[in-house]
């Protein structure tokens, strides 16, 4: 089996990362990686919870060089952590926060190296570790429909192959000359690939910060002393435009996690004078296609990735995709390298870039003691907000509970972006003869409730 380098930076002085505009060299990075690897516990599974992207990358690299697998769930509710403990009983949490709330054995990766006896074991000579392409590097999770997160294994070789394909799509810019700033967390599949693996594998510098407000994004970009790439989402891009935020010169803007409307893409390109590349992918497949949304409809597949249609389902295989995967979206191949995206299958929901399924959310709602029946649904009558986000609604039958109690119980089970607005308590759900809940019946019942409780529908 072949081996692939941990990082593409081949000089000790090459910049691997910036924090507040200050460079961190490849030599320092490898020193931090070896120092951390030396003091990791024996468990083979690492929940990398580092918020600072530099420490996330150090944690990932330390896990790779010690043959451990990173666990990357999309959310960290107590319910998900409970499932992870069952999935990998030896899992421990790697964090950069001394007050980390995750209920797992903790390793703090920011402990100063000088305080460690092991720091002297870091090699003096600059040598980039080689990682076996077949090594299991990460498990990423989708929400599944039965209430249990579903793991997807990623080998080092396939992850590297995927972001090397991404690098070719950034042309004509040379990533090795750029600093890459992300507004998405490193634990999210898109953030993992585009804000951590892409810089490490292309020789670019990653940025430790994850700016949030429009003014933060501008400040973090201004602090970067070289060509800038912004890895973001439709929510953050819309927020930048709405806030009329000025930005310093950008080489490239990348968007993923949710469909980017073409008019928003054109507005972003003209406001910021940079090309906007949209990326298509999923947790299961990783990134697999790109398009210049301001100019084109069709998506261009990564080299070697193929689509096959059968029985109305689209299967992805080849390239970096480990085994054929049926995608939940409706894709129509237009030739061997291109496709058109027609939307998502009805069960999938995407709120502010976080994906789940109605089946999973319904399972969590109905698992709350005292909830007799309940269903989430997508409201099509509510107005999108300034950041362009539309929330879910839910109906529940729970004679002994109030809405506040149910919301509190849901908060421990599902990511907060999926909490229903509103949650309506009803006497029974409008199930049809086969037990199904037709969307129009949910909408009608909600409209009826809106007449009775107008204050719930601001």
């Amino acid at each position: 089996m072949s081996a692939l380098p941990l990082i593409a930076h081949d000089q000790p002085t090459a910049v691997v990362a910036y924090r507040r505009g200050r460079p961190i060299s490849a030599a320092q990075f490898l020193h931090d990686v070896h120092a951390l690897a030396w003091r990791l516990p024996t468990g083979a599974h690492v929940l990398n919870f580092c918020d600072d992207r530099y420490w996330f990358a150090v944690g990932l690299a330390a896990s790779l060089v010690s043959g451990k697998c990173s666990i990357l769930p999309s959310t960290h509710t107590p319910e998900v952590i409970r499932h992870l403990r069952a999935f990998a009983p030896d899992v421990f949490c790697l964090s950069d926060d001394p007050q980390c709330p995750i209920e797992l054995p903790q390793v703090l990766c920011t402990q100063p190296a000088a305080a460690l006896n092991g720091s002297s074991r870091a090699p003096v000579r600059f040598q980039v570790p080689q990682i076996d392409a077949g090594q299991l590097a990460a498990y990423v999770f989708t929400s599944g429909s039965s209430g249990t997160p579903v793991p997807h294994a990623k080998t080092w070789g396939r992850l590297v192959q995927c972001v090397r394909a991404e690098m070719t799509r950034l042309a004509p810019i040379d990533p090795a000359q750029c600093a890459i700033l992300g507004t998405v967390p490193a634990q999210h599949m898109y953030g993992f690939e585009s804000t951590v693996l892409l810089p490490l594998q292309s020789g670019a510098a990653l940025c430790a910060e994850r700016p949030f407000f429009p003014a933060d994004i501008a400040a973090a970009l201004r602090a970067l002393p070289r060509a800038r790439v912004l890895i973001s989402t439709p929510v953050h891009l819309r927020a930048l435009l709405t806030a009329e935020q000025a930005l310093p010169e950008l080489q490239l803007i990348v968007s993923a996690t949710a469909m980017l409307p073409a008019n928003l893409a054109r507005e972003v390109e003209s406001r910021y004078g940079a090309t906007l590349l949209e990326i298509y992918g999923s947790t299961e497949t990783g990134q697999m296609a790109s398009r210049r949304t301001a100019l084109e409809d069709q998506w261009w597949l990564w080299p070697g990735v193929q689509l096959t249609l059968s029985d109305g389902h689209c299967s992805v295989h080849g390239g970096h995709v480990e085994q054929p995967i049926t995608v939940a979206d409706v894709l129509e191949p237009t030739d061997a390298e291109h496709f058109v995206l027609h939307g998502r299958t009805a069960d999938l929901v995407n709120i502010a870039g976080k994906r789940s399924s109605l089946a999973y959310l319904n399972h969590q709602l109905n698992a709350i003691p005292g909830v007799v029946d309940g269903a989430f649904f997508v409201r099509d009558d509510s107005q999108a907000s300034l950041a362009g986000v539309t929330r879910l609604a839910a109906l529940a039958v729970a004679p002994r509970l109030d809405a506040a109690h149910i919301i509190k119980a849901l908060r421990a089970r599902i990511d907060a972006v999926f909490l229903p607005r509103p949650l309506l308590l009803v006497e029974h759900l409008p199930r049809n003869a086969t037990g199904k809940l037709p969307h129009h019946a949910l909408v009608a019942l909600t409209a009826q409730a809106a007449m009775q409780q107008p204050h719930l529908f601001a």
Partner: protein, 100 residues
């Protein structure tokens, strides 16, 4: 001369309450919250338990106050912990920082 140094509002307490109410209305409308503006407890936390807002909501609030009052919220602002502890503290911050 000393009159010029005084705040222009003659009844700051009433103005503060009016601003608090105005912000409550903007938040309930802007975030599609299933409640009336007057249902927001001005002393309760905006984040997590309390009013139950999440990070997308806080981004929405940043856009609302940027549009309405010309204020740019920053995540690394040392005062953020205090600002988001309650509607009352947030309204006070808006009163201090607003440029329109």
């Amino acid at each position: 001369m000393s009159e010029h140094a005084l705040p222009t509002q003659t009844t700051p307490h009433i103005d503060a309450l009016a601003l608090e109410r105005e912000i409550a209305q903007l938040i309930v409308k802007g975030l599609n919250l299933p409640m009336q503006p007057e249902d927001i407890d001005p002393e309760a936390a905006l984040y997590g338990e309390g009013l139950g807002l999440d990070s997308i909501d806080i981004l929405e609030i940043a856009l609302i106050v940027s549009k309405q009052y010309g204020i740019q919220l920053r995540a690394d602002n040392q005062e953020n912990a205090r600002i988001f502890t309650s509607l009352r503290n947030f309204a006070q911050y808006v009163a201090e920082q607003r440029i329109k």
